[in-house]
Structure formats: C-alpha cells, structure tokens
C-alpha cells in the first residue's frame, strides 16, 4: 500500500470504517497493559518524592490528562482545517468525536489538579495561570460540544465546530500567556526538556508509559466514536 492510497483511505467513510474497526481494537488492547503498568509503576513502584511524599503520585494521572487535553485540542484544530479545506467527512467526524473525549481529559486534569492542590497548596482552587488556562480550555471544549449539539444538519454543525476549534486554537496560547502574566503559582513543567530530565528515571518511566496508555486509550475511544458518528450520519449502512 503506497502512502497515497493509505491517505486516500482516510477520506472514504467505508474504508475508514473498516480501518477504524481494526485499529480501534489494537489501540484498546494496547492501552490496557500500558495503563496497568503505568498505574502500578507510578502508584506502587516509583519512590516517594523527597518533598511531597506520596502525594505527588497523582501526577501519573494529572500530567498525562493535562497533556492529552492540549494534544486533543490541537488535533481538533488540525482536523478542522482539513475538514474545511478539503471537505472530508471523516475528518469532520474526527473533530466532533474528539471534543467530548478532550473535555473529559480536561475535566480529569482539573479535578486531579484540585485534589493535588489541597494538600500541597492548601486550597482546591487558586487563580493560577495554568489552572485558569486549563479552565478556559474546558470552556472552549464545551463551546464546541454545545455548538455541535445545537445545529441540526450534521455537516453544517461539524464545519461550524471546525471554525470554532481553529479560532480557539489561535486563542489558547494567548490565553495561556495572558494568565501567566496575570498570576502564577503552579510548579514548572516536569516533562523532560531534551537532555536534562528534571524527574528521576524511576519516576519518569511510569509517567511516559501512562502518557502512551492515555494516547492509545484516546485512539480507541476516538475511533469508536467516529464509527458511531458515521453510522448515525448514515454514511455506513449496516445490515
């Protein structure tokens, strides 16, 4: 299969449906051991932090969830661009199917962050830059979901969502730097900068495995939702 035919298969609903059926299965299968190893490694095997004790272990959910929230929004903006420029139905479905998953990861990152903030900062919520921009990101996700729900025609709804996602995507860095300028309390990033990790390898490995696990779970959930969307739209007939 050449690259071009592979790319074309991403544009045809029936071919994509079969591909999604197969890939979704594998993503789902891979995510189970990855998440299991990440959880066991993070919650049991990794050493406690010298400063935050056992409390830091929530990063094994919090950091991958926060990372996914940004990743999915970027993916939505990309899918939105593709859907608008080439008017490809599959990418429209990818965009609208990704929004609820992204919103869930964002909510997960916020909730775990709040639970972590209580023992470490003494408050569930502080008006810090990262928390606030994550909250605005959740609102942006909710905007896309609400917009999708409120327009009856599926294609018009998806294209409206695509436009909103793209404008929101330009807005996310502006929101981030505006709130950073406004106030900051959140600790710096622990994901490794190239060459100098700020996290010990024994702590870092489970975190990266969790990230992969979240990614493959997202792949699984996304492909199943896209299949569902294609069926609802009537692009795929099933006997």
């Amino acid at each position: 299969m050449t690259f071009w035919t592979w790319l074309k298969s991403l544009t045809s609903p029936p071919i994509f449906f079969v591909l999604a059926q197969r890939c979704g299965f594998w993503f789902g299968l891979i995510s189970v051991p990855l998440l299991a190893y990440g959880l066991i490694g993070g919650l049991l095997l990794a050493p406690p932090d010298y400063q935050q004790g056992e409390g830091y272990r929530i990063i094994y959910v919090h950091v991958p969830a926060a990372w996914m929230s940004l990743f999915i929004y970027s993916l939505m903006a990309l899918a939105g661009g593709i859907a608008l420029i080439w008017r490809i139905k599959v990418w429209e479905c990818l965009l609208t199917a990704a929004a609820p998953i992204g919103a869930s990861f964002t909510a997960l990152a916020l909730v775990t962050g709040m639970l972590w903030g209580k023992p470490m900062w003494g408050a569930y919520w502080v008006w810090d830059a990262r928390l606030t921009s994550e909250l605005v990101l959740l609102f942006l996700y909710l905007g896309v979901i609400v917009l999708h729900q409120s327009i009856a025609d599926a294609r018009a709804a998806a294209r409206a969502c695509a436009l909103l996602a793209m404008v929101g995507f330009v807005n996310v860095p502006i929101v981030h730097y505006s709130v950073e300028w406004w106030n900051t309390l959140h600790q710096g990033s622990i994901l490794p900068k190239l060459g100098k990790p700020t996290l010990d390898r024994s702590m870092l490995t489970p975190l990266l495995v969790m990230l992969l696990g979240f990614q493959s779970f997202f792949g699984y959930a996304l492909l199943r939702r896209v299949q569902n969307e294609l069926l609802v739209r009537g692009e795929i007939q099933r006997g």
Partner: protein, 221 residues
C-alpha cells in the same frame, strides 16, 4: 470597495433608525455597573477593588446584547445572500459590517465607561485608562463576538449559546483590560496591558473576518 462602503453606511443608517436598539446596551451597562455597589459595603474601600471587574464584565455582557442579533436581520431579509453573490470578497463585507457594528454598539459603551468609572470612585486618569482599554478591548470583543454570532446565525436559541462561545474566547481581553485598569488605580504602568489589548485587536481585525465569512456561508448553505 464601494460595496464595503455601502455596507458600512447601511449599518449606520439601520442603527440610526432603531435608536431603542442602540440605547439598550448602553442603559444595560449603566444599570449593571451602578447597581453593583449595592451588593458591596460602599465605604469599606473594597468597591475600588472591584471596579475594574465591574466595568469590564458589564461591558462584556452589554456587548453580548447587541451581538446576538448582528446577522439575524440580514439572514431573514436575504441581504446576506446578496453579500455572497456580490463580487467583493465576503471577508471585506463582514469586516465592514463588524466595524460599523462596533462603532454604533461597542464604542458607546467605551465612551460611557469613564463616566461610570468616576461614579464608582476612580480618579480621572484611571477613568481615562478604563476608556482606552475598552475602546481597544471592545474592538476584539465585537470581532470575536461577531464570529460567534455568525456561527450561530439562523439558530433559534442563539441568545443562550452566544455567551458560552464568546466569553472563553475573550478571556485574554478581560485579563489585559481589567489589568490596565488595576494598574491605573494602583499607580502602576498601564502601557504593557494596553499594548497587549491593541495587539489582540489588530489580530482579531486581520484574522476574524475570513473565519466569520466562512461561518456565515456555512450557516445558510
């Protein structure tokens, strides 16, 4: 270019003929801002703390009143269709329409704000900063709001949905705008947030019209 000018003048004429629609956001803004202190102990000094937030949130909400029906009339009477049939790119027509809408609905809010600021106990120089911030901020607000309104054009429940789409998008404007006002009250430097507001306004004026035009095309196709 004549089409751009025609749209601009048409908006102004339409606005001049429905003065109640023009006055509504202004009255709303004045009332919200001036009733706010009733909820705060008036002489405790805490009012000054809240004034930037009151003036900015009031302006945001008042602007939403006007934005909601920005494209509704055009969609109903078919002039939107004519805009798409015109040889001029729709982005320019949308730009012209949004600028006119800002001029008649957004700028009055900004011009009212120093009066409200003085009534709420700010100094004269701080009131001027609030106004400058709102002149710049309301531009971004009207462009982002116009885009959201275009997305929702033709929907029955647009009035409820509009704030959900607009308010997250304008959060940087709120931060910088209220930031400038707070800096003016505490005697800090107001240039940086005002420059940021100007930068966001320029960005919106450049990038939003094509997006809003695409949204409108999508809404009535």
């Amino acid at each position: 270019m004549s089409a751009v000018k025609a749209i601009f003048l048409r908006e102004l004429r339409l606005a001049a003929r429905s003065r109640a629609d023009l006055a509504q956001p202004v009255f709303f803004y004045a009332m919200v801002s001036l009733l706010f202190p009733l909820g705060i102990a008036p002489h405790s000094g805490s009012l000054t703390l809240f004034v930037p937030a009151i003036l900015w949130m009031g302006a945001l909400l008042a602007a939403l009143l006007g934005l909601e029906r920005l494209f509704r009339g055009d969609l109903e009477d078919g002039s939107l269709e004519q805009m798409f049939l015109a040889p001029t790119p729709v982005s320019f027509l949308v730009l012209s329409k949004l600028l006119a809408a800002w001029l008649v609905l957004g700028l009055p809010l900004a011009l009212l704000s120093p009066v409200l600021a003085l009534l709420l106990g700010l100094s004269f120089s701080a009131a001027v900063v609030v106004m400058l911030g709102l002149v710049l901020g309301s531009l971004s607000l009207f462009f982002l709001g116009g885009f959201s309104s275009a997305l929702l054009a033709g929907l029955p429940r647009a009035g409820v949905l509009l704030p959900l789409l607009v308010l997250p998008l304008v959060s940087p404007v709120l931060i910088f705008g209220a930031g400038a006002a707070r800096a003016a009250i505490s005697g800090g430097s107001v240039e940086a947030p005002l420059y940021f507001l100007a930068a966001i306004a320029v960005l919106c004026i450049c990038l939003i019209p094509p997006a809003a035009a695409a949204a409108l095309r999508n809404a009535f196709e």
